[in-house]
Amino acid sequence: MNIQTAIKMTAAETALVDAYTAQIGDLIGDGAVLSARDTLVDDLKKQGLPTRRVEAWHYTDLRALLRTVPVADPTAFAERVEPLVAGSSVMTVLNGKADDKTAPVGVNVRRYAESLADGVAAPDLIERGSDDAIGRINGSFVRDGFEIELPEGTELEVPLELQLVQSLGQSHTRFPVTFGAGTKATIIERHLSVSDEASLVTSVTDLILDEGADITWIILQQQGAADSHLAQINFDLGTNAQLKLFVINAGGKLVRQEIHGVVTGEGADFKLRGINLLGGETHTDVTFTLGHDVPNTTSTEVIRNVLFDRAKGVFQGQIRVAPDAQKTDAKMACNTLLLSDDADFSAKPELEIFADDVQCGHGATVIDINPTHLYYLQARGIPENKARAMLVNAFVDEIVEELENEALIETLETIIADWLEKHA
């Protein structure tokens, strides 16, 4: 006799599976896309959401943390907002629906909904691995986004803002982006909520940088205090390509931002700069994996976290250096300013090095405000609360200052200062 104990599904798991069943016939896709979706949902049914027993999710028990899933509401209304930097090109995704009419000149853009409809998207809808819950959920439900291509040699004079505005319900988007050889651009992937209603947002971005591409990609996440935000960015760096990835989390209740990269071209350089501003009841997780697959490549990762209230934060960072990736230079740092006794932060740096001639290092610190710095500012007449705010700001501002666009620096500084004022 064959006895199998079925795992009891949680409310959120049931809601996801039911939502899929309810949307059959409505979800976009040709035969290949629909069968890819079915496979993903079957996996979701079989495995459920990951728990802390799945290593990649050890500090973010998604099964326990994702309590409810808001019902998708195709009629929900959201409006575009002003761009972060005046004069930027803006392409909007409002409650999950993309608008490609404002694509900048010289950039090839196609709505992802079209790629789903004609099946071009089918090969995308796979899992990175059995623990890829974000890819699985997103692939099951994805409805729109943009496929973007910057042809060889394109240089964008102004930032391109991908503006994802969410009011309530669900949004599942994808952004496959190819940067041709020698391209240069600043792209802002901006997620924000314009209501207090709960949303579930999943978003997957796939970047390919060809030879010599020089790209700054900024992810600014400002979801509402009730929102779940599950996002992933994957990238592949070609020869001499440079990617500067800035990730700023300043919102959301349950947030996981995954970053998975491979460096496949010699001379390539990757920089990750992260700021996590965590307050209230948020649980925010940044999980990063990077493979240095070829010789002579470099990467640096600096993550700065500020925690207030009962916030929980996670940073997992794993750097793998392949056996023939000699002369790899990789440095990772995660610094946390813990400003509440009820907040906590888990940092898990990992290095897996299979080459023998490399320079790799990592460090994680958890600190309070430096009392000598505080005293010095006070000794010049700055009251304690103001001095503290200046020092917290300084802690994260060092990261922002690494951007090159002055207008963008100023806007981000304002966003950070406003956030700190609200939470300090």
Partner: protein
Amino acid sequence: MLEIRNLHARIAEDGTEIIRGLNLTVKAGEVAAIMGPNGSGKSTLSYILSGRSDYEVTEGDILYNGESILELDPSERAAKGIFLAFQYPVEIPGVATMQFLKVALNEQRKFRGEAELSTPDFIRRVKEAAAKLQINPEMLKRPLNVGFSGGEKKRAEILQMALLEPKLCILDETDSGLDIDALKIVSDGVNALRSPDRAVIVITHYQRLLEYIVPDSVHVLYKGQVIKSGDKSLALDLEANGYADIIDAAAA
């Protein structure tokens, strides 16, 4: 202006007593030099006057313009006009020098019920004061004290002092790490601030600084007490003969 009465103070963390019954009076318009061997409590005294919380006053009082300041935190003391030029100015990455100066100046004005300075006004003042101290404007674009040489840090302290216009200036070994040219520039900066309503306390090891900033009184600190006071000739005497005689005399 300043009256220190039978002051006893210790390190808060381990209870080590550093200041043991110190008495000192400094009048408005006076420049008082405090000298003394290493470990006599000179820097500790400057920290205590500024309100650093690492030290606890266990006995005695510090009166500033007739009022005790023991209950005031460092920012309140600063806003009331007490300024300490640090021996080791602190580097604070991420805090822009100009932003720091502007916030400090305006917070002090706010405390005193004065209007904030407009940005053009502020910038003009900084430029003028920086030029007098031969401070390279590029330096002001950097984060506070970060990457400044020893001499640049000391000049930056005097710049802050010139901008904040305190009433009681305490210079803690401002001469250390300065070459002779820088020493002259810094001293000129201090002398420019001398006025009948302002007092200056100069803490130093060496007579050299006192050739440029000529004191009205000189006090020798030893084991947390003022063991001898005199006029500027006392500093010359110390330079020639060292502390031993005075210490022996005080012990006798």
